[in-house]
Symmetry: C2
DNA sequence: TCATGGTGTAATTACAATGATTACAAGTTT
DNA sequence: AAACTTGTAATCATTGTAATTACACCATGA
């Protein structure tokens, strides 16, 4: 299993919109950078729009960021593209036997541990802004 | 997406083996507690055995822990049942356009962030031992 | 020794999620 | 009106999961 690449593509889209200052960031343009189908990008743009991360209008080419890059964290993107359901990074097996001591209690014991682990991962994402990503890419490019 | 329930079932199996002191922990017995098919349990037991967490022998009913519960962490189980490939909790989209500044650099920029996030989650799992799980379940049971 | 019951493992099935693709309605611009 | 864009639904191939069946192989006890 792996967290869907929608997440990394979402980050890619936002980064590209921010750095593409002199062109128009249409779904086709973005798709050519991501190397996928424009419809895939439009679907993701719809999610990013719904999460109020970008502004897009039907018929009008190009998307813009809805906030400053310093105000968008990777956690926002992660939530926007819906790669992990709330509280469900880890699955619990269903219907363990309630007649058994372990079966009856295992879920209540494990769940808080799983939530703590998921939260630790998400905290890291909250600590990284789109601005940091954009700066890192600009830095890498300037060194070439 | 969600991390396979193999993980929670793996924890269930080990906990049950530890707490089932007066019976034999056969795959059928464990399956009835987990509420699944014995073959599913045997497959997981094979993984736990390979990771040196339990001792099972062909033809001989019952599994035993290969280590003390205090020496087994949830991270060991997580690795044993192979729910997440090394360094691959998050997928990177493949083949972004190398002719584009963003496409060329996005993977190198994002990867260390993803690894940091994955590591934070795994550190939590390393901090929880099977002993802690067993004790918590015993405590819950004693309160009833 | 042989019947019984266990583990180990492969094959099959059903199901869900993903990502690519096509198609088209609806909006905008010139 | 023509050309281009977004929004969205439908379809398809692929993949991973979990359940199930089947059977080879091993150990034990009558």
């Amino acid at each position: 299993m792996s967290i869907s690449s929608r997440f990394s593509v979402g980050i890619h889209i936002l980064t590209l919109i921010e750095l593409n200052t002199d062109g128009v960031s249409s779904s086709e343009f973005i798709a050519s950078s991501v190397n996928t189908n424009p419809a895939v990008i439009r679907k993701l743009m719809g999610m990013l729009k719904k999460a109020n991360l970008i502004v897009v209008q039907p018929g009008i080419a190009g998307a813009k960021l809805a906030k400053k890059p310093s105000e968008i964290t990777l956690f926002d993107v992660y939530k926007a593209v819906n790669v992990v359901q709330e509280k469900e990074l880890f699955s619990l097996h269903e219907h363990p036997n309630p007649k058994c001591t372990v079966g009856k209690n295992i879920q209540n014991t494990i769940e808080p541990i799983f939530l703590t682990a998921q939260n630790a991962m998400e905290q890291v994402l909250k600590g990284v802004t789109l601005e940091a990503v954009v700066k890192d890419i600009s830095l890498k490019e300037s060194l070439i």
